[in-house]
Symmetry: C2
Subunit: 128 residues, 2 copies
DNA sequence: ATAGGGTTTCCAGTTACTGGAAGGTCAAGG
DNA sequence: CCTTGACCTTCCAGTAACTGGAAACCCTAT
């Protein structure tokens, strides 16, 4: 099948599939006589795997690792788990950072009357 | 004062200050005879404002808006509040997205025995 | 033959810096 | 006066992961 169909089936934009190929995340696709990329169901499966992993927030580098573990029948599940754990840790840290921002911002916003007068606790906070 | 001292006082790296100047977020600094950038206390105040706004997660574009509101004595606090509210909304959306990922990942990780055997619910999830 | 859609490559833009190289400047010490 | 080390300058490249768009080729149906 052509890249458009592979894109539809995997959920990844065609542009992204080409990008993944160019950067070496996936092997170069086969080509038709006319030079069109050609994908098998197995290829689509791999692309869907990547789509799912990306949706879970794994970096492309993590995806490469996960993909190679997936394809390695002698893998240790501990290796997979370690990648996931680290990823969770990063997510949790990010959430905490965002919660902190949100909390501060909510306080400031609640203190700002938000009318046509210029005095504003938000700006006052930023200024000190 | 030179850029190094302005950097120390504002908390922004010198590289970042130059970058802000180059991209027009701040006005070009004055120069000494030798071509060194020269900063006043007022400049440092502006830089600190930006540092604080960035630490609260505002985009550089938002910072430009906030800065111009800050410098506009005829501003309406409603305008400031609107920028902050939108920013909070984006943060909240991001937190929800991350919480969703975290939740899914925690479930998968808890199901993975994490030893030297290859079977792994994490990979199985990604594969479907 | 032509119209439309799909495909190709390549280049540029996004966000907000950060690292590093090559070279000029300044103040202190000898 | 000279050197040394810390600053400063500009400029170029790289980061993460795409996304948009241009110019041109291909395929199918009417």
């Amino acid at each position: 099948m052509n890249i458009g169909e592979a894109a539809k089936k995997s959920g990844l934009p065609a542009k992204t599939i080409r990008y993944y190929e160019e950067t070496g995340l996936i092997a170069p696709a086969g080509r038709t006589a006319a030079g069109y990329r050609s994908y098998s169901e197995a290829d689509v499966h791999t692309l869907s795997f990547l789509k799912r992993a990306r949706d879970l927030g794994f970096s492309v580098k993590d995806c490469a690792v996960l993909l190679s573990l997936y394809q390695d029948k002698n893998r240790s599940s501990a290796d997979v788990k370690a990648v996931a754990r680290q990823h969770i840790d990063r997510i949790v840290a990010k959430i905490e950072e965002l919660e902190q921002m949100r909390s501060t911002l909510e306080t400031l916003v609640s203190q700002c009357h938000g009318d046509d007068r210029p005095d504003c606790p938000i700006l006052e906070d930023l200024a000190h």
